[in-house]
């Protein structure tokens, strides 16, 4: 039987050179990706590759913006371990269950002597056949062309617009409750990954869909926050600003309405998380979804995501420090990745490549039991001593 999930595109392979703190990465990716590692091992930097691809094709973005001002320029992007001034390489393979090797996209770039990001190579293949590769003859004639990817140009990307659409469908979410409450402090009211535009996003959704989704979110929130009885969308009569209000059970018989400014951090994060799983169909990037949530709620996140994926086939890439998330016994040894800082930059390997982890799992340990000791700081026992003097 045909279903939506089997034709959904996902990232199937990621290859990097000199991207931020990664000198070399080459990994096969599954439908779910769990990134674990010590603090500052680069989990967010790895997620940022996918955001970078999204930024290249997004409105108001483009290669110059994404590799320039948005990320502090090529020198900030290039791995510190890299010797001399090598190119940064991003190569992704994209496919679906039905068509595993649908697309390959490779981008190799550096900077010119005006410190502008400049393309050294751009290549697209479809079903294993190369469609084109740059620099081409036109680029030789006019090197200025190499400041823009073909991907972001609507007039040339017709043949491979699927790739651009796919990158555009990537969603990143790392809700900062303070920004949801006070959007004026966020970077902008659209496309803010930190949740500053969450209310605007909810407001933009057609009313019928919005109400249906809010009902579903309300049902989940009622489990996690039992005193919350009802969730509604509302607009400020005077300013038109969107608000969410929740009805809380209260000593008053009617209960009391509160808006998002009074919601707890946990409630807002969970709300953002639930909204993100409903909204969109492209890869969903989540940064430590466990933050502010009760461990019991966290325990259920992997299965909640599994149901989302079962329906849509949508890829999920998340970073986590949470043993509760990793405890889900269905997480494959090729779905969990360990990021370990080493002399030549951080390495990224699926846990199945760690012989000791595999053998501990065979011996009956759970995944977090076997993996977490790899991610703890080497001298964690020194931390309590910090306050002694």
């Amino acid at each position: 039987m045909k279903d939506a999930a089997s034709s959904t595109l996902i990232f199937r392979r990621l290859r990097l050179e000199n991207w931020r703190n990664f000198t070399q990465v080459d990994v096969d990716l599954q439908n779910r990706v769990f990134l674990v590692g010590p603090n500052a091992s680069g989990k967010s930097n790895l997620l940022d590759v996918f955001r970078f691809l999204h930024d290249i094709v997004s409105v108001g973005g483009g290669f110059q913006e994404a590799a320039g001002p948005q990320r502090g320029g090529v020198t900030k992007l290039r791995s510190l371990s890299a010797r001399r001034y090598p190119d940064i390489v991003i190569e992704v393979h994209i496919g679906s269950h039905d068509l595993p090797n649908a697309w390959e996209y490779e981008l190799r770039f550096s900077q010119d002597n005006q410190r502008r990001p400049i393309i050294k190579k751009e290549r697209v293949s479809h079903a294993g056949v190369e469609l084109w590769t740059r620099p081409d003859a036109d680029d030789e004639k006019d090197p200025e062309r190499l400041t823009q990817t073909y991907l972001e140009q609507i007039n040339v990307n017709r043949e491979f617009r699927d790739v651009a659409d796919f990158f555009r469908s990537i969603r990143y979410l790392h809700v900062v409750p303070q920004l949801v409450r006070d959007p004026d402090r966020s970077i902008g009211r659209s496309n803010d990954p930190y949740g500053g535009d969450l209310l605007e996003q909810i407001a933009r959704t057609p009313e019928k869909t919005r109400n249906a989704w809010l009902r579903r979110i309300e049902a989940v929130l009622r489990v996690a926050v039992p005193q919350l009885k009802e969730l509604q969308f509302d607009r400020d009569k005077a300013s038109g600003a969107p608000h969410l209000k929740g009805k809380y059970e209260h000593w008053r018989p009617q209960g009391a309405w509160q808006n998002e400014e009074q919601f707890s951090d946990g409630t807002l994060r969970l709300l953002g998380l639930l909204w993100a799983t409903l909204e969109g169909s492209g890869p969903l990037l989540l940064e430590e979804p466990e933050l502010s949530l009760h461990p019991e709620v966290v325990t259920h996140l992997p299965q909640m995501f599994a149901r989302m994926q079962s329906r849509t086939g949508r890829q999920l890439i998340l970073s986590t420090h949470s043993p509760s998330i990793l405890a889900d016994p269905s997480i494959g040894l090729d779905e969990a990745f360990l990021l370990l800082p080493e002399h030549e930059g951080t390495t990224v390997r699926p846990v199945r490549r760690f012989q000791q982890i595999v053998s501990l799992l065979e011996g009956g340990l759970s995944l977090p039991d076997a993996v977490m000791p790899f991610t703890r700081p080497a001298k964690a026992e020194q931390l309590p001593l910090f306050a002694t003097r």
């Binding site: 039987m1 599954q30 779910r32 599994a306 269905s330 494959g332 040894l333 090729d334 779905e335 199945r352």
Partner: protein, 204 residues
Amino acid sequence: MTPTGLAGCFSAAVEGVLDEAVLRRILIDLDLGLDRVFGQRGKAFLQERIAGFNHDARFRPWIVVVDLDRDAECPAALVANWLPQRAHLMCFRVAVRELESWLLADTEALAGFLGICKILIPARPDQLDDPKQVLVSLGEKARRAEIRRDLVPRPASGRSIGPGYTSRMLEFVQDHWRPAAAEINSDSLRRCRARLRDLGRKLS
């Protein structure tokens, strides 16, 4: 709704999420309530704390359910090892070999849920060596693609269950599974229900 009085409202300790759902379903069926749930971190976690739960079972009703697995020859041996001195409000039950055999025991509901023929489901689930494995391989025959994908692991994952196994089984337990029908095929479930019924009568 959960009964509000102390009597008839159990505290429980279980190995995992699915176990809690099964227990909840069993108790509702017997008109008993479930109050606090402890554990959900595997079997060893329970074994280390069973003395504490038992201590509290002098004051209020408790139910603890564990899988027999391959740890002992029979439930009695495991009980003797874990809990030599049972408090009078403690109901300690052992699923033979795993809780999944209780789910397999409602053949009709399971066949309907998976969209498979009833005769494919083993008639005596308590005698199965690895009920979870049997459930997963029945999942391979499920009529709907998304159920197959949820229950069956990809070979390269190195795991024994598929990505949505727990949530699919939760759905089955909550919406389809009937403890009263299942006990006909599973002696360990029948005993569990009988013991809970006794304890419930004692409390009312």
